[in-house]
């Protein structure tokens, strides 16, 4: 296939499905498993990661010409860590309760592989508008992945969604879902589902291609 000029819309979309950071690239597993024990935690973590990824990608892309490649990783880390610190203080000042709930996982955004991965793989070698689109796409893909996991785990493990009780007082919660094994179980099943859908699509495309080739 000819390598076409990057289509801006594709750069944004790829992060949502085709190259979803959690379900396809399998990056950022630590916060994905640890912070999805409730839908609200997942939401705040997704939002914080979005801020850091977009801001870091924008800055790295803008400064790419001045960062010598020998020190690029260190410079990326400094940039990422600065933004994470800013959002850590901001969350503590603006929403102290949620900040307390997320606790050590906000500083851990620094070592989220998704962020570092996008800097190295994309932001450092692409113009700012594309880098921003890529960052947005990846962040939203991550956000949805977290929300999917968080919702499933909270619904099954507590019987509520965003704190709103769904099943009434007689629901026996499947407690393991909000503990670490539940995270692995849910993630595994979602990965299975995701890959099944991908494979079905690919089979369909192959069949269509074969039919097209026959018809010629």
């Amino acid at each position: 296939m000819l390598k076409t000029k990057p289509d801006a819309y594709q750069e944004f979309l790829k992060g949502l499905w085709r190259e979803n950071p959690v379900f396809v690239q399998v990056l950022g597993m630590c916060p994905t498993l640890a912070v999805t024990n409730s839908a609200e935690n997942a939401l705040v973590m997704g939002a914080a990661t979005l801020f850091v990824l977009v801001a870091s990608s924008g800055l790295v892309s803008a400064l790419q010409r001045w960062i010598p490649k020998q020190v690029r990783i260190s410079t990326f880390i400094i940039i990422i860590a600065t933004f994470v610190t800013v959002i850590d203080f901001s969350l503590e000042a603006l929403v102290p309760r949620l900040h307390k709930e997320l606790g050590p996982f906000i500083p851990l955004i620094v070592v989220n592989c998704i962020i570092m991965g996008r800097q190295e793989a994309f932001a450092a070698r692409n113009p700012v508008p594309l880098a921003l689109l890529d960052a947005f796409g990846m962040s939203i893909g991550f956000f949805f992945a977290l929300l999917a996991l968080g919702s499933v785990r909270e619904i099954l493990g507590v019987g509520s969604l965003f704190g709103v009780n769904l099943f009434g007082p007689h629901f026996e919660p499947w407690v393991i879902m909000i503990l670490p094994p539940g995270g692995f179980l849910t993630l595994g099943l979602l990965l299975l589902f995701f890959n099944w859908i991908k494979e079905r699509k690919e089979r369909l495309v192959r069949r269509l291609d074969a039919m097209e080739a026959e018809a010629r």
Partner: protein, 224 residues
Amino acid sequence: MDAPQPIAKAAEPSSVRLVATLAFAGFLSGLIIVSTFETTLPSITAHRDLRLEQSVVKVLPGAVSLRRMVHRDGHLTVVEREQKGEEIILGGYAADGRLVGYAIPGAAPGFADTIALLYGYVPERRKVVGMQILESRETPGLGDKIYKDAAFVANFASLSVDPEIVAVKKGKKTAPNQIDAITGATISSKAVVKAINTANALWLPRLEAAPRSGTETSETNAKR
């Protein structure tokens, strides 16, 4: 793809350039972080003070104002702000200025991380009269019942401290110094008890040595 073209070898950046880049990045980063810290500090401190004040009112029924105190040279001293590393205790005062009791901070390792709490203590009755969890990262749906379950918190409304507080299985409470643990969250429940017992071991002897209001010396005359 075009035929590979000979690429002129780019000059290796000097070490000075590398160090300078990192130093500059670090310097800018430091500037941004310090500015954010300074900007958010008043808000964060205000949140913490407000939370503390609300907690004192909650754990000491009848208290409307508080005074921070530290233990220096054998007696309780009222301070505006404690020194770094100093342990504080809060005196809760009713509207008429009368000392209602003390709000004592405590902490102990829970299931996930350290649990920090504040509890109200009335020396004359030798009872804990209220408890509020300040910091907890316990598991949502399980350990977080230590602050979400009203029945658990109610354990601490009138709890005798002698000889020490004990957590028993839910429904098996018999003595006034016992509390019902949360089913499925024994570690979190016991951590709460441990936090209070440890703080009692530290502060109760100090409170007994210092008789009431009279010996609270003020560092400044300014009220909190």
